[in-house]
């Protein structure tokens, strides 16, 4: 199979397979998780239900001062790479075109030089959090194989996309095909791994905030 045929496969059949698994997995897990429902709470609320859930979604996006002092790399690196990832994925024009092609939605993109810079910063932040994970004994102890695999699966699309745009290592066509393939692998793994937090984080925060509010620790 030549490079262009490989690219056409990942743009066609490969994408169809990956999106199928992704959509199937996401719907399955979301409906199953949220469909389970919570056990009826028989205790009287300590105070009237407020907006604790929504406040928690917002508040937990920012580190607490003490925590920040203890683990600055985790927080800053984590925040930078998540925001960077969001910018690269959703504001690079070819990505927007793909989303438009699949879902019909589109919005203005950013110039490729800005995307390029954000990609480098994002990769640097990801490498930093990985090094921190390896160097800090506690973090290393808590890490499993799955943590390293998911890190690599997230890092690969960034790296291959950047290499493709920069024309490094391999011919553009082949690198672009590898980039798309790496995203497809990520899509397939996402619903069945800890990467599913992309869909559940805010729901979990809301739930925790709401329960805490119910118990009297409103925020």
């Amino acid at each position: 199979m030549n490079d262009l045929a490989f690219l056409t496969w990942v743009r066609g059949t490969g994408l169809d397979i990956a999106l199928s698994v992704f959509v199937f997995g996401v719907l399955w897990r979301l409906i199953e998780i949220y469909g389970l429902g919570a056990k009826k709470d028989l205790a009287e609320p300590r105070r009237a239900d407020g907006a604790s859930g929504w406040h928690t979604i917002w508040r937990r996006s920012f580190p607490q001062k003490e925590a920040m002092k203890k683990a600055p790399v985790t927080y800053i690196g984590g925040i930078v790479f998540h925001i960077g990832l969001g910018i690269v994925v959703f504001f690079f024009v070819p990505h927007i075109l793909l989303i438009k092609g699949v879902f019909g939605l589109s919005w203005p993109g950013l110039p490729s030089q800005i995307i390029d810079l954000v990609t480098v910063v994002t990769m640097a932040a990801m490498i930093l959090v990985l090094v921190d994970r390896l160097v800090k004994p506690v973090k290393r102890f808590l890490s499993t194989k799955a943590d390293y695999i998911t890190w690599a699966l997230t890092f690969m699309p960034l790296l291959t996309g950047w290499l493709a745009v920069q024309h490094l290592l391999l011919p553009y066509t082949l690198m672009l095909a590898i980039h798309i393939l790496s995203v497809e692998i990520l899509l397939i793994v996402l619903p069945f791994s800890k990467l599913f937090h992309a869909f559940t984080t805010f729901g979990s925060r809301w739930y925790n905030g709401e329960v805490n509010g119910h118990k009297g620790v409103a925020v």
Binding site: N2, D3, L4, A5, L7, T8, W9, R11, G12, T13, L15, D16, I17, L19, S20, V21, V23, F24, G25, V26, L27, W28, R29, L30, I31, E32, G35, L36, G37, V93, P94, H95, L97, L98, G101, V102, P108, G109, L110, P111, S112, Q113, H167, P171, Y172, T173, L176
Partner: protein
């Protein structure tokens, strides 16, 4: 010996032929300087190039045309006509070429056999068109199948130049569902050096450039993984496109005749395959350097790449899915149905657990 002293003096040489046609040494040197620059060689090499070409014996060339449309021949012989490139082309000894030779029938075939005999091991074989492997009768010349003629002619050649995307990668005849079982030259001939000069058609100056390189150095130029000379196929159309700055700024034409298209914005969204097409169109251009497809307002269709005909459609942006995502829609429906079934199963389990729950009384604890 310098080019000056040899030009036009050696009988039977290219130089002598040029001089006889009234080409001055000055014109010839100008051409050689241009070729030297095109081949990415230092300008000091111009006199060496000139010397080699001028002294070279007229290179015997056999041109075979198989499943093709003659567009490659049209491009090479007509589009720059008349230029020095054409004359150089004339001055190789083109011993066999369906379209261009005067002889026909047996005489034509005899010319090919004679050239093969006289120049055994030295002649250059140029092939355009793909070879049908499904049924030999799909394409024959003088009753000889394309496959047989290629194998026979390739035996005594010094090298093969596969011209056009059909000969290099199968091209349009090989497009899905490939009714004739078309294959490229390289899929049949394995023991000869093959230079692939793809394009539909290839750029004329690229063709002559490859020949000049062969005449000058007596060997084939450096090739990429797809057998293409790196000199001409080393960079993508996109990288050398004059519309590239608009791509980087995120400025795209939305239709072929909108304001953005008229301003010369990037044609990526209209399906331009420039980013994945390795060719020299954006630099050498066509029709004596006049223009190239993107400059004329149409996106690149990627004609010098293998399987370009089946690469997801000419008017679909590269970032768009190549095929309709039919499976994904079914998967979405399946996801909802299966998870809803799971949901009811889980709720059933929950209800069953609740029903089976035994309450503990004080009496139980005192037992």
């Amino acid at each position: 010996m310098t080019a000056k002293s040899s030009f036009g003096r050696e009988p039977g040489s290219v130089g002598e032929g040029l001089a006889r046609r009234g080409i001055s040494r000055r014109d010839f040197m100008k051409y050689c300087s241009g070729v030297t620059a095109m081949l990415n060689l230092p300008l000091s090499m111009a006199s060496t190039v000139a010397d080699s070409i001028a002294k070279a014996r007229r290179q015997s060339v056999i041109w075979l045309s198989f499943q093709e449309c003659t567009g490659c021949t049209e491009a090479i012989t007509r589009s720059h006509s008349p230029t020095l490139e054409n004359l150089i082309f004339d001055l190789i000894s083109l011993d066999y070429h369906h379209t261009l030779q005067a002889a026909s029938a047996d005489a034509a075939e005899h010319a090919r056999e004679q050239a093969m005999k006289d120049n055994d091991g030295k002649y250059l074989l140029i092939v355009d068109g793909s070879i049908p492997m499904g049924n030999p009768g799909y394409s024959t010349i003088a009753g000889i199948s394309n496959y047989d003629m290629l194998v026979e002619s390739a035996k005594g050649c010094a090298a093969i130049v596969a011209v056009g995307t059909c000969a290099t990668y199968g091209g349009i005849p090989k497009a899905d569902p490939n009714p004739t079982g078309a294959v490229s030259v390289a899929e049949i001939i394995k023991n000869k050096p093959i230079i692939n000069v793809p394009g539909c058609p290839p750029i004329p100056v690229v063709m002559t450039g490859v020949l000049v390189h062969f005449l000058t150095f007596g060997k084939i130029p450096e090739l990429d993984a797809l057998g293409r000379p790196k000199i001409f196929y080393g960079e993508t159309i996109h990288d050398r496109c004059y519309r590239r700055p608009f791509y980087d700024q995120g400025k795209f034409a939305k239709s072929f005749d909108d304001e953005a298209a008229r301003k010369g914005w990037c044609l990526f969204e209209l399906g331009c395959k420039g980013p994945v097409t390795y060719n020299a169109c954006a630099t050498t251009k066509w029709n004596d350097g006049t223009s190239f497809p993107i400059q004329s307002g149409h996106g690149c269709i990627g004609c010098s790449e293998p399987n370009f005909w089946d690469a997801g459609g000419f008017y679909k942006a590269l970032s768009m899915p190549a095929n309709p995502l039919s499976m994904a829609k079914k998967a979405a429906v399946a996801g909802v149905v299966i998870s809803t079934a799971m949901l009811y199963a889980n709720r059933g389990k929950k209800a069953a657990a609740k029903a089976a729950h035994e309450t503990t009384t004080l009496a139980d604890l005192e037992k």
